[in-house]
Amino acid sequence: MNKTRKNDLIMFFCGAVVFLLLHALMETEIIGPFWQLNIILACINIILAVSLNLINGFTGQFSIGHAGFMAIGAYVSAIMTVKQGLPFIIAILAAFIAAAALGFVIGVPTLRLSGDYLAIATLGLSEIIRVCILNTPYVGGASGFMGIPHLTNFPWAFGLMFLTVYLIKNIVNSAHGRALIAVRENELAAETMGIDAAKYKTLAFTIGAGFAGLGGALFSHYFYLAHPSSFTFMRSFDILTMVVLGGLGSISGSIIGAVILVFVSAALADFPEWRMIIYAVTLIVLMIFRPQGLLGNKELSEKMLGLLRKGGIRRDAA
């Protein structure tokens, strides 16, 4: 059997074990409602962080508008289940497609911009999306979209999280993924290798947006409600922080980043006034002392294997 297929099997096995373990603990109420909520939130945040990492970490584009696509997913899925009475799975697909389509439409013109300009444009676009939702009475306007059925449960959240991670990992490890990374490393050199940089940037942006939509669908169907104030640029910053904390260009890093942030904020839930301060200080200190994030652009398994095999840190990301 070839090595990649074997790794896939290991990943499926680990995923299944973690799922069954957590599920059993929840069913027996060893994990109470508070931590259940946080575990589901972690799953949603992993989806958001990994998908943003595809854009920011692997393709080297600088988007801080992920909340906008999440909002689209949250609202489109809610329209599907509440107004159209369609099943959840259709709503999720619709959320993915709608967010991806919008990502494509937005990506084509804006991805010509680079660096800070792209960042501020994506931030602006996500605010425009939010203001448009705010002004649409059909979806509840400023008071939010209420009465959304509580359809997101642990199996849904974990299953879709796992699927997202698996699919994005596969993209990154294919020829298409190499093209994305080439664009990140040196756009002109990538073009000189025959890679259509504009196409690949749009591709990453579209797929990333789609998965953000998926995360949004899970989000609104967990909290009974989709409200414009849930999708401000603060949310985008939050997702960006997870990605950078874990390491740009590392999928396992994004997973770790998302889990850490969710649990740190859960642990500080009793000290709300200190929560954001600690969060902010952590961010600043991390950027000053370990700007590449916890894992740099390496994957966890690779690094651990390297440590075991060679008995030391194989490559240091300076």
Binding site: G124, L125, A142, I284, M287
Partner: protein, 298 residues
Amino acid sequence: MDSSSFLSQFIQQMINGISLGSIYALIALGYTMVYGILKLINFAHGDIYMLGAYAGFFAAAVLRLSFLPSLLFAMLAAALAGMVIERLAYRPLRRAPRITALITAIGVSFFLDYTLILFVSPQPRTFPAIFESEIYRFYGIIINSQQILIFAVSLLLMAFLTYIVQHTKVGKAMRAVSYDTDTARLMGVNVDKVISWTFALGSALAAAAGVLVGIYYNSIDPLMGMMPGIKAFVAAVLGGIGIIPGAMAGGLILGVVEAMASGFLSSTFRDAVAFSILILILLFKPSGLLGKNTREKV
């Protein structure tokens, strides 16, 4: 709407827009100066504006100072805060990738907001009436004396800044550093000092904006800096980031367009209009209204 009431509505919104735009311009100046030198979107700049408003509040409500001393107090306090932030948070990252510095700036922004909330609570405060509001009416158009104050103070400060940048030694050093940091250093410019000065000046202007807004709206709160901060950045991009007159023009244009949008459309669309302008300018003239296009050397 008949034509005369349209005209008066137009002029009214123009006046509102100019005073709002002056505020944006004052904040945008700090953004643009910092960006011009460090290529950093200082997301914490909006929070310096908020900090300035609170410093003004402290001077007026606690120290019972009048308008001008309060304004100066706030500007001085913010200048100090700006320099400290630069020294502690941004200086260690001078050579780091830009995303690192940007995320640090976001961190600083959160830190300022929530530390202040810890001390003063998230509740809005009523800003003391240190400048009387008088209403003047001409042919159905209302002008508030505070609007005139905002415009006059902004104009004065901008003139002052222009003088500093164009005619003083520090100003020359600032221009040199923003043009080419390494060469400026080789020419004996103390780059760290110049960057400190830039933060001080930018922060002082933002603080002045904070105090003026406090006077105008009577109310300040710890999260007041978020939106105006980002809007001011839009204004800076609109005028051409790194260009001082660009920030002034961008701020005024943005203020007027927003006022028109809320006057003629709906106030809820105001933010969308601002960001739409941003997108359009980025797509069609990313270097801004007053900027020059550059090309990468291959």
